[in-house]
């Protein structure tokens, strides 16, 4: 016990005051922190209001009473209050399938079947199936929308991306050129531009008989957009597989599709899983752009919550809450990605010494 304590103390001493320059850096950093931290603590804790209504809140400190009162709105936005068990269930379902997908033990065919089923169940739950009044998608909002759009688009984009990546590396010139043009077009365009296409062009481009609601249009365009990014990551994995693998498979008499499905893709996808997780983190953050076309995702719901006439202007508190939600999910996912990378690398090369 005392040995551990003294070791920590030694590390701290050499880490903070090891050399003269180091001591200077420590002093400078502490000075900087002393300027920033006390006002923050005063705002967030000492001067903060933890209960009561808007009148009780002072402008000097944080108003956590606001968060307590509006948490439900931030999470579910304008979804009919009596039916909010539905989006809550959607969150649970999506969390369950994400956790299941994160466990390498469960990777396999059942999971591939479970994904479309979960998404279908979420869609039915959200739109209020089996109730008297269906709930239009412009009443959906908050965390379920963020998670749902993210999961659907990522799940739907991955198969498209595999095809695009294969096409980009194929010997068939027509498909290869199409794939290159498609990927470069999508990657050169900002996501806001893609969302505007979903918002402004698609309604004009689709036949009149076919009216598709805004949420679905956004999902379709975002799927097509993300597919280009995922395709590039998968292509990197395909490039890492030595050509001997597919030559050997061809020599065994396997055709193109069976070579890809049985030999190349299983190895390539295994390599790119950490990259895909990193991409997925970026995509979750990018779903906040849905606010630009007026969909009430988590961030937009938080902004709308501070526009409530009873609780006007508590933007900082609302933003802090959603920042915490995003941070917990993404930080967890990035830690998971690091762990997975080590695990997958450990499984392929010689066992690690540590």
């Amino acid at each position: 016990m005392t040995a551990a304590l003294s070791r920590i103390l030694t590390t701290l001493r050499s880490g903070l005051f090891g050399t003269r320059a180091n001591t200077l850096v420590t002093v400078a950093t502490v000075l900087l922190l002393s300027q920033v931290v006390p006002p923050l603590v005063r705002w967030a804790v000492l001067d903060a209001t933890f209960g009561g209504d808007a009148a009780a809140c002072t402008r000097a400190g944080a108003c956590w009473a606001f968060v307590a009162a509006k948490l439900r709105f931030i999470l579910f936005a304008f979804y009919p209050p009596g039916l909010q068990w539905r989006p809550a269930l959607v969150i649970l379902l999506l969390a369950a399938i994400l956790v299941a997908s994160a466990l390498p033990r469960l990777w396999g065919r059942p999971l591939l079947v479970a994904w479309p089923l979960t998404i279908l169940a979420c869609w039915l739950l959200m739109q209020g199936a089996f109730t008297a009044t269906p709930i239009p998608s412009n009443q959906w909002g908050g965390l379920p929308v963020t998670l749902f759009v993210w999961a659907v688009c990522f799940a739907a984009a991955t198969p498209i991306a595999v095809l695009l990546a294969l096409a980009r590396r194929s010997t068939l010139g027509g498909l290869r050129t199409f794939s290159v043009l498609y990927i470069e077009l999508m990657r050169g365009t900002p996501m806001v531009g893609i969302l505007y296409v979903a918002m402004l062009i698609l309604p004009m481009a689709l036949p009149d008989s076919l009216s598709v609601d805004k949420m679905l249009r956004a999902i379709v365009m975002v799927t097509l957009f993300w597919a280009a990014y995922i395709a590039e990551v998968i292509r990197a994995g395909l490039q890492a597989i030595p050509p001997g693998q597919s030559e050997a498979a061809t020599a065994l008499g396997l055709g193109y599709w069976r070579t890809q499905r049985l030999v190349v893709l299983p190895q390539a996808l295994r390599i790119v899983i950490p990259g895909m997780v990193n991409l997925a983190i970026g995509f979750l953050l990018a779903t906040s752009l849905l606010a630009v076309i007026g969909i009430f995702d988590l961030l937009n719901a938080a902004r709308a919550s501070a526009a409530d006439p009873n609780w006007l202007g508590f933007y900082n508190e609302a933003y802090l809450v959603v920042a915490a939600v995003y941070f917990v999910i993404c930080f967890g996912a990035s830690r998971y990605s690091q762990w997975l990378e080590g695990k997958l690398a450990g499984g392929r090369t010689c066992p690690r010494t540590a």
Binding site: T11, L12, G15, L16, G18, N22, V25, T26, T29, V30, L33, S170, T171, L172, G173, G174, L175, F178, E184, L185, R187, G188, T189, P190, M191, V192, G193, Y196, V197, L200, I201, M204, A205, L206, P207, I281, L285, A286, S288, L289, A291, V292, L299, R303, Y315, N316, Y319, V322, A323, Y326, F327, C330, F331, S334
Partner: protein, 394 residues
């Protein structure tokens, strides 16, 4: 001995080349491409029909029509009533302005933060670690909203106190001291642009002559700059540093950045500084400790080791990753539309809404971003080829 001259194989005709390009399954591929073209044509046809029904003429003729909206800020003069073309140009210049300054600031801050994160000081590296994690794991849009609400919460000009005596942070924007050259035949921005163009021409001609080295490259840009400045001074221009100062209810003089611009620039800089810091850290850590030890054994001091040994190798990792960060920054500057900065996206959106020509407006938008992206990545690829490993085939 009979000598026969056999004709060589015929040169492949255009059809052969197309056949070689297509490879297998020619009919299937052509059918697929035809299908894609058909769906595209169907969509465009529907768009034309819809436009005809509401009485809008497809085409880019609307660009010369007058735009009846104001633009909050613009590098070129713009009034309501000027053409849509000019409005879109103003938006493009705003996008370029914020992206360019953002790239420079993010690089400077990112390198500083990245190096600070490698410090042996536990407090500093821990602080940097948290800064990077928080910045990376929250949406950029959220950060922009935060900076925007911070910019609005700053004191009014009358109550604002000056940082370092000359910088004012107020709810009407940020006021910085400005450098100007008054009285000459052309203003400072024009002079700098002229010097930059001359520098690019000189550098390109040096490259064509095969004499472009880092030193001659710097000289190629420094010489025109000095020449232009000397010419301005000789022709009677006087340099003036104008500091902003409070007069009445407002602050006058100096350089004023609007709250939207300041928030967007801060948000982009902070987010991408964190990303670049991670890249710099990875790049420097990718250089093995053996390199440091060997360089020390040769008697180089720390500055030389970094400049001659570590940096050239680290740049090989850093450059391609930073390039894609710059491209992302340029694309992410389009989030300006959410906080009311009149960038290209926001003006194209306004144009689409006021004229109904949304397809043309979005074609302009996507085409412009594609062009910026392709130009920037071509530029960085050239640079990357210079720092990449020589003599190896990639």
């Amino acid at each position: 001995m009979l000598l026969t001259v056999l004709p060589g194989p015929p040169r492949p005709g255009i059809l052969d080349r197309i056949r070689a390009w297509l490879g297998g399954w020619p009919i299937g591929q052509l059918a697929f491409l035809a299908l894609v073209a058909l769906v595209g044509a169907l969509f465009v046809g529907n768009v034309f029909q819809t436009m005809a029904r509401v009485g809008i003429l497809p085409g880019f003729g609307f660009l010369s029509g007058s735009a009846n909206f104001e633009i909050g800020e613009s590098p070129i003069a713009f009034r309501a009533g000027d053409s849509y073309f000019r409005a879109i140009l103003a938006g493009l210049l705003n996008t370029l302005k914020v992206s360019l300054i953002g790239c420079v600031l993010a690089t400077v801050c990112g390198v500083a933060v990245g190096v600070a994160g490698l410090s042996r000081n536990l407090l500093l590296s821990g602080l940097v670690r948290w800064f990077i994690e928080i910045t990376r794991n929250t949406p950029l849009l959220l950060q922009l909203f935060f900076w925007m609400s911070l910019a609005k919460a700053l004191p009014a000009p009358r109550q604002a106190s000056a940082l370092f005596g000359t910088v004012f942070l107020t709810n009407r924007g940020v006021y910085l001291p400005a450098l100007s050259l008054e009285g000459g035949p052309l203003g400072l921005p024009a002079a700098l642009a002229l010097a930059a163009v001359a520098g690019i021409v000189l550098a390109l001609s040096l490259r064509l002559a095969g004499r472009l080295t880092p030193r001659s490259g710097i000289a190629a840009f420094a010489l025109p700059l000095v020449a232009v400045l000397l010419f301005l001074l000789a022709s009677g221009a006087r340099p003036a540093a104008e500091a902003p100062a409070l007069s009445g209810f407002n602050i006058r003089g100096g350089l004023n950045l609007s709250p939207e611009f300041a928030a967007l620039l801060t948000g982009l800089t902070v987010k991408f500084a964190a990303l670049i810091a991670e890249i710099v850290r990875a790049g420097i850590q990718s250089v093995g400790t053996g390199q440091w030890e060997a360089a020390r054994a040769l008697g180089l001091h720390d500055g030389q080791i970094i400049r001659l040994v570590v940096l050239p190798q680290a740049l090989r990792v850093i450059t391609p990753l930073t390039t894609s960060s710059y491209l992302d920054l340029t694309k992410d500057s389009s989030l300006a539309v959410a906080i009311g900065f009149p960038d290209l996206v926001s003006i194209v959106n306004t144009t689409a809404n006021t004229t109904g020509q949304s397809m043309e407006a979005l074609i302009i938008l996507i085409g412009t971003f594609l062009a910026i992206n392709l130009a920037l990545s071509a530029l960085m690829n050239t640079y990357n080829n210079r720092v990449a490993l020589r003599g190896t085939v990639r």
